[in-house]
Amino acid sequence: MKTTYFTTLKSLVFGVFFILVSTTTFAASKGDSEGSKEDQPFDTKELIFHHITDSHSFHVAGDFSVPLPVILWTDNGLVTFMSSEFHHDVEGKTIVERNGQRFVNIHEKIYQLDQGAGTATFDEAHHATNAGRPMDFSITKNVFSMFLSLAIILLIFLSTARSYKKSDNNLPSGIAKFMEPIILFIRDEVAIPNIGEKKYAKYMPFLLTLFFFIWINNVIGLIPVFPFSSNLSGNIAFTVTLALITFIITLFSSKKYYWKHMLWMPGLPVPMKIFLAPIEFMGMFIKPIALTIRLFANITAGHIIVLSLISLTFIFKNYFVGVGSVIFVVFISVIEVLVVAIQAYIFTMLSALYFGQALEEEH
């Protein structure tokens, strides 16, 4: 028993190291190819923003990218084509024509040119003047990464569930040995203390799904090679959706006391009640907003720090800085391994806390 734990731990540690080392080498080669093109100063901001924002193709290495499907809902119905039709153009120069509609890719956002317009024109702030955005349901890098995480999560937990079915005394085996402590942690340290012994069971599926969905996507973001490395959980659309789901469940679980406590705080003088009511009411919306921003900012910041440290090498073009930046990247990446787990935990914990508050009864 003990030796298997040890070997898995050892391979885990080696895995992390491999990933960390490959992060730096991979990023280095990528930065190199971009930096040597022109003799301009190295554009750190461009590199970082290219990485942390979404895109319509998945950059693998050098000039090689995996094209992803573009799915648009226009006034004339559904339009689909592969992003490779833009030929890596993000300046709005390559025009893709479908059903008499013209589409361009301007900084990884698909624009539809106005009727009759031949090329995209820009104002001084580089905003397109003769194009609008159709509804964009494309499988972008982040969506692709999310589907990947879906497959990984389903694989992990369906096999976990199967391992319980196979054992006749309900003992965990295989991967379930790793997952069960985490599941029990969510149950015993997150759900039960915040929601209460009686009602926690109803929220367990949501909390577990939430935790692992965030965590696995965070971890995917840390792995720097294709098909991972996306910044999905550092994308505000991702975090806002999850926070919104938490908010909706909070509202649906809320009891009378929740509203009473918020709008007419018991045990306070009337002027104080009137003073507190709007603050508490705003608090109801601030909570999910805080959830959104916390996860988004933490994960994005992690990616920015790692990329900035790597960029140091290309800014200074110096071996010593290179070695130093690799050491710092490894250091920060180890911290990030912790941070991504903690952020997933905090999001789940706060969701459970809000459910607990909503369920609170008069006492």
């Binding site: 937990f157 069960e180 599941i183």
Partner: protein
Amino acid sequence: MDLITPELGLIFWTGISFLILLFILGKFAWKPILGAVNTREQSIKDALESAEAAKREMENLTADNERILQEARAEREAMMKEAREIKTKMIADAKDEAKESADKMIVQAQAAIESEKKAAVAELKSQVASLSIEIAEKVVKSELSDTDKQLKLVEDMLGNATLN
């Protein structure tokens, strides 16, 4: 700014993905996993409880045994004591009886001795008397065979029998 403007497409796909995940995992993963864990915890709890009960029963049994042993010991003690008492009593009784019979025998013996003694004394007396008479007869015969001697006797007797 691009970074903090949520894209509709990603919101849509995130929502869809999350709900699909929630549905599938809720039905095929969380339910069996949590069920198995709960069943196991319940069975562990039951096993612990039954072990506790068995332990308590064992303790009761031990206590019972102890009590029975104690009782047996007490009983033995009592029996021993009784036996000892009986023994002492028997010895005492025997002693008493022996003493009594000895006393009786002594008394009888004494009585026998006394009566023997009396008989012996009586016989002695009678023998002494007859002997004395015989002797006296002989003496008297011899004394009275000679007048001088008869006279001397009378004189002696008279001499002894001083009149007072």
